[in-house]
Subunit: 471 residues, 2 copies
C-alpha cells in the first residue's frame, strides 16, 4: 500500500511513536530549531481554524465579545495574586532585554491572562450596569515545559481564554457550567470525543480558582487527556486586584469571576481518540476536507460533474491529480484521514458505479451512477460521525473500572490503563499516596452518591473520583 | 450635546491628542501597565475581526493557506540573513530565561517571520511540484519601539504575513503585485481610504528585499501612513538558507520569494482618515455595527418590528436602551461612529415618520413610515461608503503638490503637510539631505515619465517620487 503507511509505527507496539508519526506523516506539524515549539502546518491549522470558527460562534451567541490583551506581563503584575504566581512563575519565559537595553522590570510572556484582565477590569467596572462582563481572547500563550509533544504539551500554545465578571456568585457559577456545557457539546458533537465532565478535587484545581471543572477524554490507550477546563474563581482575583462595583442598592460590592479555556491540545485528543495504524481518522464535522477524489483513467467529464455537485452542496473536497499510482493515492488519503475517499475509475464507471471508501472502517461502498451521489455522501458523513462517537464511547466504557479497596485499585492499575472509580476523602495526602504508589492522578469527581469509605485511609469518603494516568 | 464630545480635543488644535482621545472615548483601546502595549477593547477588536475575515477570504480565494510558526526565534536563526538581522536586531525583545533557568541561547519574540518560514521551506521544498507555496500567518509580533501610539506604533502588533515561494522570478513578481492589489482594493472599497500605491526607493525598502511596494495613505492632517507593504525578495533569503528545488529539467534551482503584510495599523489609518471632532466615523463596510437605534418614548412595537427587519436582512445594529437622555445617546452614537443612527421617537411615529441620521455628514433624513425602511438604510449605507471615499480622495488630492526646484520643495514643505512630487536620482544621499533639511521621507515612486533632473543634486533624475512627513 505504499511507503507512507509503512512509516507509521503500529500503535500496539509504541503508542507514543505512533502518535508523533501520525502528526508528521499527515502533515499536521513540523519541528523547527525552536526547541519545544512546533510549526502547525496548513492541514493541522485548518483543523484549528474549524474549531475556532465553531466555538467563536457559540461564544458570541451567548453574548461574549473578543478582546486582545498584551502578550507580556510585568513581573509585579503577575505577583499580585499569590496562588496564581506560585502556580505559574516556575514555567514562564522571561523577557529581560528590549533591543540592547536591559529592562528595568522583566516581563513574562503570558502563560494565561487573568492578571491582565483583572487590571483592565479594575478600570472599566464601575457599576452593576457594567455586569456581566463577558470577554474572550484568542491568543498564543507560553509555558516553559521541559518535555514536549506536538499539541499535547508544547511551549507555545494557541488557545482561547474566557474571562467573565458577574454581580452574584450564582450567576458566575451558572456561567462556569454554561461554558463547560458548550465545550462538552462541541467535543461530543464535532470531535466525536465522549468526554467525562466533572469537578476537579481540591488538589488538582487551577492556581487561584475556587472550583475547577474539567473535560476528561480517554485516549485509545486508556490514558487521560484534560481537554479543557472551566473555573469558578469566586472573588479571589477581584479582591486581590481591588475590583468593585456600585450595586443597585448603592453599596460597593466585589464581583464574582470565571475563566474557561480550550486549546490546540484538542487536536491531540482528536488524533489519539480516533486515528489508527494507517494514519489520521477525522470526524467529518471537523475535517477540513470531507471528500478526496482519486480519478483513475480518463474520467474528465464525470470528475467535473462530481465537482460541480460537491461545490453546489458546500462539501469540501480535494482531487488527487498527482502523477503517483492509485495505490499510493489511496494510502495517502488514508494517512490524511479524509472521511470519504471516492475512487472515480473509468472501468467502474463503464460498469455503472463509483466506489466510495469510508476512512473510519475502510468499508467500500459501490454507488450506482443512477443514484443521487450527494445524498449518499451526506448520509455517509453523518453515519461516520455517529459511528466514530459510538466506537470511542464503547472503547472508553470498556476501560472504566471500579475499585472497592486499595489492593483492588493497585491490581487494576497495574493491569493497564483506563479510569478507575473509587471512594475518596478530601485529604490531599490520600491523592498524593495514590500518585506515589501508582502514578495515577485524580481526573474528576463523579456525580454519584458516595457509598463507602476512602480507599486509602479508610475514613469517611467525601466523593467518588476517577483516577487515571494522564498526558 | 453631553460630556463625551467635550472630552475630545479638536483636531485643528492638537491632532495627536485628538487621535488618542478618539481611540479612548470610542472604546477602541485602553492602556495597561505594560508600557508600549495596548489593550484592544471589544469594539476595536471587532473592527479587526472584520478586516481579518474579509482579507482571509481573499487570500484563500487566491490559493493561500494559513500556518502557525513559532513565536520565538533563536538568535542564531535570526542571524542567518545579514541585512535582515541588521534591520531588526536593534528592536527585538529578548527572552533569556525559561522559569528560573538561563537559556543556553537567547531567543527573540518574532518581529517578523521570514527566518522561521525559510527554515521550514528548506525542509519541505524539494521539487517543482511543491511550488508555488502560498503560505500566510495571522500572528502577534513584537518590535521594541521607543515612542508608541495606539495602532500606529506599538510594541505588540497583530498582523498577517504572507510568505510565498515560486519557481520563477516572473511568478514571484506577479504574486508581489497581485497581493498589493488585494490590499489596495480592500483599503479603497472597504476602508474608503484612497491609498497611493507604488514602489519604495532603494533607501526605504524592507531589510532583505529586492523590491518593496507600499500603500501610502494620507491622513486628515496631510501626514503619510504606510498602510501595508508587499515585498519581492528575489533569491536573497532562499540562498542564505540554502533552499533549492529539483525543476522539471532535472536541475537544482533556487526559488524566488515574496512577503506581504498588513496590520492593526490600518485601524489607525481608518480613524485618521475619516473621524472628526465628535468622534469616530466608520465606513459602513467595515463598521461592526451599521445602525444604532435610539428609542424615545414608548415605541416597543415599532422597535420589535424594526429589529425583525434588520435581522432578516443581516444588518448589524444595536439598541441603546440605557437610562441616559436622548441627547447623551445621540452624542455617544456619534463618538462610536455607527454609520446610521435611527431616532425612533413616539412623537415622530405619530406624525408618520422615523428620523435617520448619517454619521458622516450628520444630515437628518425623515423616512415616511409607509416607506420600505430597509431599502432606505441599504441605499444610505451605500451612499455613505461612496461619499466617505470621495471626500477622503478630494481632501488628499488637495494636498498633492509638485516641486520643480529644491527651494520650491522647501517652501511647500514649510507651509504644511501633504505629499510633494519631485524628480529624484537614485543616490541615497539626496534622500538623506531632504530628510535632514525638512524631515520629509520618500513615500513611493510615482508611475510617471521622468521629465527633469534631480531636485537635490541636479544630476539625471531616475524617477518621480512623493515625499511626505510620516507616522
Amino acid at each position: 500500500m505504499g511507503s507512507l503507511v509503512k512509516d507509521i509505527t503500529d500503535r500496539e507496539v509504541d503508542f507514543a511513536k505512533w502518535y508523533t508519526d501520525v502528526c508528521k506523516k499527515a502533515d499536521l506539524v513540523d519541528y523547527s530549531s525552536v526547541k519545544g515549539s512546533m510549526i502547525i502546518r496548513p492541514y493541522g491549522y485548518a483543523i484549528w481554524e474549524n474549531m475556532v470558527s465553531i466555538l467563536d460562534k457559540e461564544f458570541k451567541k451567548l453574548g461574549h465579545v473578543n478582546v486582545q490583551m498584551p502578550l507580556l506581563i510585568p513581573e509585579s503584575l503577575l505577583n499580585i495574586e499569590k496562588e496564581h504566581v506560585e502556580g505559574f512563575a516556575p514555567e514562564v519565559a522571561w523577557v529581560t532585554y528590549g533591543g540592547s537595553e536591559k529592562l528595568e522590570e522583566r516581563m513574562c510572556i503570558r502563560p494565561t491572562s487573568e492578571t491582565l484582565f483583572c487590571e483592565h477590569y479594575k478600570k472599566i467596572i464601575k457599576s452593576y450596569r457594567d455586569l456581566p462582563l463577558l470577554y474572550n481572547q484568542w491568543a498564543t500563550i507560553v509555558r516553559w515545559e521541559k518535555t514536549t509533544r506536538p499539541f499535547l504539551r508544547s511551549r507555545e500554545i494557541l488557545w482561547q481564554e474566557g474571562h467573565t465578571m458577574h454581580a452574584t456568585s450564582t450567576e458566575a457559577r451558572e456561567e462556569t457550567l454554561r461554558m463547560l456545557k458548550v465545550y462538552e457539546d462541541f467535543q461530543r458533537n464535532y470531535l466525536a470525543i465522549p468526554v467525562i465532565v466533572g469537578r476537579k478535587t481540591e488538589k488538582e484545581k487551577f492556581a487561584g480558582a475556587e472550583e475547577t471543572y474539567t473535560l476528561e477524554a480517554m485516549m485509545w490507550d486508556g490514558v487521560a487527556l484534560q481537554n479543557g477546563t472551566s473555573h469558578y474563581f469566586g472573588q479571589h482575583f477581584a479582591k486581590a486586584f481591588g475590583i468593585q462595583f456600585l450595586d443597585k442598592d448603592n453599596t460597593l460590592k466585589t464581583p464574582y469571576q470565571t475563566s474557561w479555556g480550550v486549546s490546540t491540545r484538542m487536536i491531540g485528543g482528536l488524533i489519539m481518540t480516533h486515528s489508527d495504524n494507517r494514519g489520521l481518522v477525522l470526524p467529518p464535522k471537523i475535517a477540513p476536507i470531507k471528500v478526496c477524489i482519486i480519478p483513475i483513467g480518463d474520467v474528465t467529464n464525470e470528475l467535473s460533474s462530481l465537482e460541480a455537485k460537491l461545490n453546489a452542496n458546500n462539501i469540501t473536497y480535494k482531487v488527487d491529480n498527482s502523477d503517483k499510482t492509485p495505490g499510493f493515492k489511496f494510502a495517502l488519503a488514508e494517512v490524511k484521514g479524509y472521511p470519504i475517499r471516492i475512487e472515480l475509475g473509468k472501468r467502474d464507471l463503464d460498469n455503472g458505479f463509483i466506489t466510495l471508501v469510508r476512512r473510519d472502517t475502510l468499508e467500500k461502498i459501490k454507488v450506482n451512477t443512477n443514484e443521487d451521489i450527494i445524498s449518499v455522501i451526506l448520509e455517509l458523513l453523518n453515519d461516520i460521525q455517529t459511528d466514530m462517537y459510538n466506537k470511542a464511547l464503547e472503547r472508553r466504557n470498556n476501560m472504566l473500572y471500579k475499585a472497592n479497596t486499595y489492593d483492588e485499585f493497585k491490581k487494576i492499575s497495574s493491569n493497564g490503563n483506563g479510569f478507575i472509580e473509587v471512594n475518596l476523602c478530601n485529604d490531599p495526602h490520600c491523592e498524593d499516596k495514590i500518585k506515589e504508589d501508582t502514578g495515577l492522578k485524580s481526573r474528576c469527581i463523579i456525580d454519584k452518591e458516595v457509598d463507602n469509605t476512602c480507599i486509602v485511609c479508610g475514613k469517611k469518603a467525601n466523593y467518588k473520583v476517577y483516577f487515571g494516568r494522564q498526558y
